[in-house]
Symmetry: C2
Subunit: 658 residues, 2 copies
């Protein structure tokens, strides 16, 4: 495959006989979970619970020793799977006394996620499309004399012309800075140029001028302003290098979990102002962290590209969002003119421009447009389903000739919202999960391998899928209270499963997954699935016609395809048709920083995309109701493979119990 | 000539036999002064001094009766010339006992001013060029439905498209207002459109949207921001009607009389800020007065067009003007982008746009560009000299093929600056003057016919010309202290002439004209004349080649051509080559409000105009030194007619004294 494939090492797990390949340095526990091999693990991979004991039968690993292991254990080759790092081919025996037999283990395993190789600066450069949204152009001029005392602006335009650059309009602030810049820089000055593309006028705008040659530092901030989370990246526009990525919750959450409650709040006196300030405060926090981590001087930032759903965008721009909520759901605008970041409370210098991604409809916003642009589906022949799984789910279907979109009111479950111990994919969030169907004991991995604090979207999907496959959860999302494990219990919110006991948790109380949590996830995934079905039916197509499915969403790492099919979130299609791109909104914002030709495509996408209102689309409610099951009421027709696997797994469990 | 000529009445003055034509309703004193007939008059035309007694020999006048006249006077036909209004042809005998003989009177008389018929809305309409800078376009739309829930902006653009209007970019604020406007206006909204012309991008900008049909009210403010005075007009853009004109001193005067001292002040900490605030405060005062007088709601104002010299413009825009002062005199920019009036402290609603006239050079600014545009000399075949007489004098020479310009450091004398009793042409300012050469008794007319307070530019020129012709002042600007009149006296600033005795003055002290006043005026007029000479020589031409002279300047009414030739301010050419346009800067700003095609011509003018730096131009200093006389050291060569008239007048005086 690629160059790295030759470096991979082989792992064989016994007694299941399951094998996997992984990069040297990967922890054994990580590989096991991805391969569908269960190893009890309670502390998220931190190495303190001592439960993930494995026997290295053949080959060697690095580390994995711990005070939790006796001298004898160590001599026998016992290691902690979360601490043992791969360095060569190994055979590993899972020593868990209740390890399942080989067939049952295989039946319960699920496949790895397929990650997309995202387009980046190198590819854009190779295609000749690396032309950043903002360029810094240094210009040298002859000093003014009585014989040539043309004005300072003309002198700059002349210098740019000599470099083959034309059609400029200087912003007021740039004009103001210019006299000082020329003289301080000894008749050399640097213009920060925002080139014209969609929705803008025909001129290249000069946002700023600096003395001398200041072209070495030219940073962009790409921002994904989500309903639940805010993500930002610093991009060095000279090299295309992503200098850092950070995220945090959108502190608007304090005013309501979803866009509807936010819009209602915005209608109260001062509400819009407070929501705007909350959003900019959250972005500022992320920018501050980025600046600290990357050592970037904020004064070197030239531009901020912001993508968000329509409500987030309008709230950030202080544009009354109430008509988004009221039928017939009319957004204010598709395009916004180039703005100034500081005007909207961003803690960036006054010269920093703000470009906001355009929206298609009230519930298909700039985040989706950015994601579609980032994936290139609008330039591809193949019929593609693009799914953006954020607080709201948005679905786009089409190819280079047409695009249709719809919004599904999925709610924030995929971002940890509305989930009792839900959290975003930050340090301590359970991001991977497996369960021993007999004992009910879990294996959990947390982000940063820290003590567990809560569970994020990918962890939630993994947990529900695994609990369902193991029979701890039924197809209606109800826990099997007859299960022998004491982790399945009646809790204060009804039946629940204890993901982490208080002793192993960061926070000192049991981390649980409740039936209301499961209901929230089911409604979310049901809304998504109903959206694909309805949108495809609306254009006379069905799931089987899809040549490609692209999943974008605010998942920290990625979600596992098979698990998401098990819960009925992803349609059942061969694995090679799926691509996971992570945060599509951030991806699009980043790419738009790097390429004006991509920025121009944003306009094409908006013009081309037809929005369907699911609330009035025929069949939507039926599709939704049918989707409120695991994986679906029509399991055999729509999920034949999962259905078969499920039967096998159930049989394996029955056999074990005999 | 024009339609009104047929309505004029004929006036014959005895004993001089001088005749004049005037409109019915004009006061006899006004006609007399314009015709060069002296009638003693001390109170500025208010009717309280009772000195301007005349005998109506033939015909009738309206009014002119006063308690200052005895019953016998009245029965004899004696009237006060300042109160008597023309209603038909009359013959008037000037009863002043010391009235001069006919020939002397004729010798001392000077010709009337020739006022330009300025281009206005009606002419622009007739030429199909009346297309205001800002239009309000009302649009009706179908209400949004689920089947057509396009965004609010698209709905507006669609409505405009149906009216044949394309290529719009909405400003941020307009986008923000739109959702409310559509709903409040029951799906009718009005867009305020600023069309693109020079220096702007290719889009028509929507500055504002209002609910319903708000197109009935669309007002522009034209502003001339002068170094000494600020003038503004309200223009109804729907009709082209000028609703009102107001002016005031620029309160920056407190920081220095001329641009140089202002620039120096701007270099002090906080100086630029204070100067900016002083300018906007002055403009705000004028706007407030205009709003009160015209009953215009400021919310109906759409746009403000501002013309000023380069220093005034840069100070108003808070752009450091220091390089204007320092060699090689580099201004910051020619063009400024469309701005917002409120951003610069103007007390206008936030939606009001601000268009600033472009500059050609450090001392040839937007005021001159506006004036040239307003006169149309850049479209005319004739070789034209354009003279802008403000605080600084600017001179443009050229025709439709080329334009050359230069700045003369004339100082503020023409606006009343640097003159002991100088004032702008406001109520109580002496604006016209004549003198009886034998008695030295004056006739004065004030603006608004109020009690005299001081003297404005046109009054100053009239006074110096008349005092010079009558021998009270010599060619070097020194008073003849041997003159029998007690008005010529030694004052605290040296020899002086009492224009108004304290008893007749508003302010209770003698209003005088001093030798330092005369020196200031001489330097000002000398700088102007030297500028014409030098600029014409620079392009290989001379005064005699001029086919047209256009005089613009901040004179309240107009200045008298012959008088300005007598002092050597205007070149000596036949009267029919001269046109007086008043405030050219305000004229240009007003016309630019009314016509985008004229606005486009502004850019053409800037591109076409070549600036000459007089300070380094060969011959300038010699020309200046030669001009510091009345009218000029080379009187016979350059002012042969004036020279002859002067000799005649001197002879007449000598004859009288015999």
């Amino acid at each position: 495959m690629n160059e790295r494939a030759s470096e991979l090492v082989n792992i064989r797990f016994e007694p299941s006989g399951l094998t996997a390949k992984a990069q040297p340095g990967t922890a054994l526990l990580d590989v096991a979970l991805e391969a569908g091999v269960h190893i009890n693990a309670s502390c998220g991979g931190k190495g303190v619970c001592g439960k993930c004991r494995v026997l290295i039968e053949d080959g060697e690993v690095q580390g994995g020793l711990s005070e939790k292991l006796s001298q004898k254990d160590r001599e026998q080759g016992i290691r902690l799977a979360c601490q043992a790092k791969l360095s060569g081919d190994v055979t590993v025996r899972v020593t868990d006394e209740s390890a399942l037999n080989k067939d049952a283990l295989k039946a319960l395993a699920s496949g790895p996620a397929q990650q997309a190789t995202l387009i980046g600066a190198e590819q854009l450069k190779a295609e000749g499309r690396y032309q950043p949204a903002v360029e810094k152009i240094a210009v040298k001029a002859q000093p003014a004399t009585l014989g040539d005392n043309r004005n300072d602006v003309d002198r700059l335009l002349m210098g740019l012309k000599e470099k083959g650059e034309h059609r400029f309009a200087l912003e007021y602030e740039a004009i103001r800075e210019l006299p000082g810049a020329w003289r301080k820089g000894d008749w050399q000055a640097t213009a920060t140029v925002l080139r014209a593309v969609y929705g803008e006028s025909g001129h290249n705008h000069i946002l700023r001028v600096e003395p001398g040659d200041a072209s070495a530092h030219n940073i962009a901030v790409a921002v994904d302003l989500g309903t639940t989370t805010v993500w930002a990246q610093f991009i060095d526009l000279n090299s295309g290098e992503v200098l850092g990525t950070e995220g945090d919750f959108n502190s608007q959450i304090g005013f309501g979990e979803d866009v509807i409650t936010r819009i209602v709040y915005a209608g109260k006196p001062g509400g819009m102002r407070r929501l705007q300030e909350a959003a900019s405060k959250s972005i500022n926090g992320v920018i501050k962290t980025l600046a600290r981590n990357t050592n970037v001087d904020l004064n070197h930032i030239s531009i901020c590209l912001l993508a968000g759903n329509t409500t987030m965008t309008q709230l950030f721009l202080e544009m009354d969002p109430q008509y988004i909520r009221l039928e017939p759901y009319v957004p204010t605008a598709a395009y916004y003119p180039p703005l100034k970041a500081s005007r909207f409370g961003l803690a960036l210098p006054d010269h920093v421009g703000l470009l906001v991604f355009p929206s298609v409809a009230s519930y298909v916003g700039g985040d989706v447009v950015a994601g579609v642009m980032g994936t290139g589906m609008h330039k591809d022949e193949r019929l593609t389903l693009f799914i953006d799984l954020g607080t709201n789910g948005e679905v786009v279907v089409g190819n280079k000739d047409w695009l249709a979109c719809a919004a599904a009111s999925a709610g924030p479950a995929f971002e940890g919202g509305g989930i009792k111990f839900g959290m975003r994919a930050a340090k301590g969030a359970i991001e991977n999960f497996s369960v021993n169907p007999v004992t009910g004991e879990p294996a959990i991995l947390t982000v940063g391998r820290a003590l567990p604090k809560g569970i994020c979207g990918s962890g939630l999907i993994a947990a529900v899928a695994a609990l369902f496959m193991s029979g701890i959860l039924d197809e209606r999302g109800r826990f099997n209270l007859d299960h022998p494990s004491d982790r399945v219990r009646e809790g204060e919110d009804g039946p629940e499963y204890v993901l982490v006991w208080a002793a192993d948790a960061d926070g000192g109380r049991d981390i649980t997954l409740t039936e209301p949590d499961i209901d929230n996830l089911m409604r979310a995934k049901g809304a998504m699935y109903a959206a694909y079905m309805t949108l495809l039916a609306g254009v006379g197509l069905s799931i089987q016609d899809l040549e490609r499915v692209i999943l974008a969403g605010g998942f920290g790492q990625s979600i596992n395809l098979e698990r998401s099919q098990i819960i009925g979130l992803m349609p059942e299609l061969p694995a090679d048709r799926f691509t996971f791109v992570g945060n599509g909104s951030l991806l699009g914002a980043r790419l738009a920083c790097m390429s004006n030709s991509l920025r121009a495509e944003v306009g094409e996408i908006v013009e081309k995309m037809t929005n369907f209102e699911l609330s009035v689309a025929p069949g939507y409610m039926d599709n939704y109701t049918s989707s409120l099951f695991l994986p679906h009421t029509e399991c055999e027709r729509l999920f034949p493979v999962i259905c078969g696997r499920l039967k096998e797994a159930r049989q394996a469990l029955r056999d074990l119990k005999k």
